[in-house]
Amino acid sequence: MTAAIFEQPLRLAQIPSLNYTATTDKFDETWQAPLATLLGLGRAVGADFVEFFLERKNYISCLAEDDAITSISPSLVSGAGVRVFKGGSDCYVSTNDLSFSGLKDALEKGLAIMGLQIPGPQASISEINLEPLRDYGTRRGKDNWLASCPSMQTMGDVLLEANGALAKKADHVQARRAAYFRDWQEVLVASSDGTFARDVRLTQSVGFNLLCADGEHRSSIGERLGNTGDPSFLTAWDYTETAEKVAEAAGKMLYADYVESGNYPVIMANHFGGVIFHEACGHLLETTQIEKETTPFMNKKGQKVAHESLTAWDEGLSAEAFGTFDMDDEGMPVQRTLLIENGILKNFISDRAGEMRTGHPRTGSGRRQGYTHAAASRMRNTYIAPGEHTVEELFASVDKGIYCKKMGGGSVGPTGQFNFAVDEAYLIENGKITKPLKGATLIGEATEIMNKISMCSDDISLAPGFCGSVSGSVYVTVGQPHIKVDNITVGGR
């Protein structure tokens, strides 16, 4: 963008005549002048803090069903959001219009909502002194990521080959799906504390969903892999290995009995088993929960909240993990945050509003689905650290229990009650897996379950996931080693 030059101080009446010409293909230094002006306007009017978030997104998904590509769906998104803070309150206004006047209209709407009156035409506007562009988008070849991603033709070819491999591995197949998406996102954050930062993200996922049927017996198993930052992720996918895994699980679950409800000791597998910590504890460590007073952990920092065998992290740094990025959606460099160490609560997951309202320092965790959402404190790559036991030791400690090999989704309610579906479960008898079970749901209280995780093995593994919450759906990683929960309620029939 370029702008007409005015003598300082800039007067409010001069703003409409500023002649900014936006670059439309990249968020670069030319956005500094108009955003500095608008941020200055917001502060001059009386806002305590103003932030702009600009986004461009180029998304495509591809679906293969059985032996045909049935959907290729590109989506082009651009927009901006402006957040205005005054006292303990804030407002967020979003728009598709990235022109200077569009951004100004959004800002003025936000200021009006906060009850801030636009001053007279001679009021002076001090532009905000933004830092030189902190451009994470130039790291690791990010500016070439989009061009390096697979073409539509390649997407289709890989998915059809993969679905063919799945057909060879599975029995009693009723329907096969292979799905891929690529989400390329460019963001720019400018705020009245001088933040001016850009990032480019590339998130991809690919996987299978297999439905098997034999008479009245049915099983459906899905498996998804995720990646950030590797344009060759799809073409490097070992779909044969994934197909074998999915086909084996679907075959075992096809004739499984329904689990008998009750209370059992449970061994939860590593990888996506980490969803238990994500739901039962992770969400309750977000400062948004402290703000709502919906977490039992709100005054427990420094206190024992979990079994002494449990240490847990949340970070955005693990190479190519699904919740990895260089800066959060408030322009803060990503961090590694120790949540729980040997059972003691060490830190919360905090964003800007969380720091302001709860006092817990920001952790680079301000995240959002896109420009239509204000950022909130959200998890990134969240996992239980490996312990000292072997997996065999965990199984050997159970006389009769449930092995939850593959977890489904779950949620936690405002009172700390959580629930998880189990997609693939087995009965454990005398330390051995004896038969497959289906229809299990794990339910419990967050504060209680954390003290029942008594053994952690040494085989940590991470898995991609999608987390929906107050600021929309974001990409996350869950993870853990195999863990033993001494007892938990299992809903079934």
Binding site: I72, L76, S89, T95, Q153, E293, T294, F420, A421
Partner: protein, 451 residues
């Protein structure tokens, strides 16, 4: 630029000009624009106010091989439309060759004339004041209610349109306002309890804020005295909201696209078969006068309508798009969402009330019955392809007509068995945001209480 300012006619003209330049002869466009304001409060003070004006269109382009390509964009000016049409044309090279979607034969058929009540937007201070008052009402209802952690008030103005290169062109506008309140208790030595309520109407002035406040407070208070429930089999009564949740979660039973994809509990031959108790009749009725958010046409321009799904327990119809209707020799039903793969979904469910009250099924004198008010975590606890569910719920164990809140429990079963196990449908239906339904009594389901 938003659709409101661009106007559908302008978009149609621009699309036609761009299509000619790109040698595109067949296309259609579905678009919508939302102007929205919402607020949340915290103990009498505004916490966050959000405003949004966003638009999006999705374009479909057919190439000369009759393959289809699709692109969606939030940029609805001429540049954005041109890029979307061009990208969709490129994508069409990879479109399906068999059973490719076509225009709906009903895209130009007359749509229902529905009286649409449009409300003027309220000011932000009015929204906030309304919500603050409602929050206060919940907090003052009982000393144990210490917060209303989830609350919100919103008003939306929605415009949507469909047009195609054969001259079809439809558009409509609508407004609605909504409020939700979720109270939470905090008592020494007791577990926190929570419950809520919501309302939706065409505008703020029509919204029953007082009723929502009262319901949220009453429900929260009703869960104060809770007990564990012993695991076992219980007769179950589903509230309107809970039963509608189940009907929606297993909608693949009446979804033609799911059937064609082999991802349904039904097959093409299931029509005319007994799938439920003869007591049950279910309709999808987007145009029902109680449906505040009703739409007169779907994503393919097909007029919406009242469609019998189950009548007296017999499966009567499937939900169709233009494409599924063609493949199954049926009519499109107004349930399509446009996309690279057209999807089919429910609109507004209406479960018919039972004929008459039955002394044997009175909740206020029932004994040993579980009344389920709200099913939770349907995204996780429903296996729609197997027909099974295992779900946490809010509800009460009814003993001698007295309701005792269930501390924490799940209900599990098979959807098809639930439908066949219906014993009674109450004579009075309740209007909810998602549909209309009376309370439904089911013979026995597994309840697991937390130890």
């Amino acid at each position: 630029m938003t659709i409101k300012t661009a106007k559908v006619q302008t978009i149609a003209q621009q699309a036609e000009a761009i299509a000619q330049k790109l040698n595109i002869t067949k296309y259609d466009i579905y678009g919508s624009s939302v102007d929205e304001t919402s607020a949340q409060v915290d103990k009498g003070e505004p916490k966050q106010v959000k405003a949004s004006n966003r638009s999006s269109v999705i374009v479909r382009v057919w190439n000369d091989q009759n393959q289809i390509g699709v692109t969606s964009t939030t940029n609805v000016d001429e540049t954005g439309l041109a890029l979307a049409l061009k990208t969709a044309y490129e994508a069409s090279a990879f479109g399906v060759k068999e059973n490719a979607p076509d225009f709906s034969p009903q895209a130009t058929a007359p749509a229902a004339e529905v009286k649409i009540e449009k409300a003027e937007p309220a000011s932000v201070p009015t929204l906030v004041e309304t919500l603050v008052k409602a929050e206060k009402g919940v907090l003052q209802a009982h000393e144990a209610i210490t917060s209303v952690p989830y609350n919100g008030i919103a008003q939306r103005e929605i415009e949507r349109f469909y047009l195609n290169s054969d001259g079809a062109q439809r558009s409509e506008e609508r407004t609605y306002a909504s409020i939700y309140l979720y109270g939470k208790t905090d008592q020494e030595g007791r577990k926190p309890r929570a419950a809520g309520a919501m309302r939706i109407k065409s505008g703020l002035s029509q919204l029953d804020v007082e009723g929502c406040t009262q319901e949220a407070a009453d429900k929260t208070i009703s869960h104060l005295d809770y007990e564990k429930i012993a695991s076992g089999k219980y007769p179950v009564v589903f509230s309107a909201e809970a039963f509608l949740s189940l009907l929606s979660a297993f909608s693949n039973m009446y979804n033609a696209q799911n059937i064609l994809d082999n991802r349904s509990l039904s097959t093409a031959d299931s029509l005319g078969t007994q799938v439920a108790s003869p007591l049950l009749s279910v309709y999808d009725d987007e145009l029902h006068p109680e449906n505040v958010a009703s739409e007169t046409f779907d994503g393919e321009g097909t007029p919406t309508r009242r469609l019998p799904l189950i009548e007296k327990g017999i499966l009567k119809n499937f939900l169709h798009s233009a494409g599924t209707a063609k493949r199954m020799n049926a009519e499109p039903t107004g349930h399509a969402s446009i996309g690279a793969k057209v999807s089919v979904g429910l609109n507004y469910l209406v479960v018919e009330a039972g004929d008459q009250a039955d002394e044997a099924y009175q909740i206020d004198s029932a004994d040993g019955v579980v009344l389920i008010d709200d099913l939770q975590a349907l995204h996780a606890g429903v296996n729609a392809l197997q027909g099974s569910f295992s779900l946490p719920f809010d509800g009460w164990l009814v003993k001698d007509g007295k309701r005792i809140s269930v501390e924490s429990a799940t209900v599990a079963g098979d959807f098809r068995e639930v439908l066949k196990g219906i014993q009674h449908i109450e004579p009075v239906a309740e209007v909810t945001a998602g549909g209309i339904c009376p309370r439904v009594w089911v013979s026995e389901l597994s309840i697991t209480g937390e130890a």
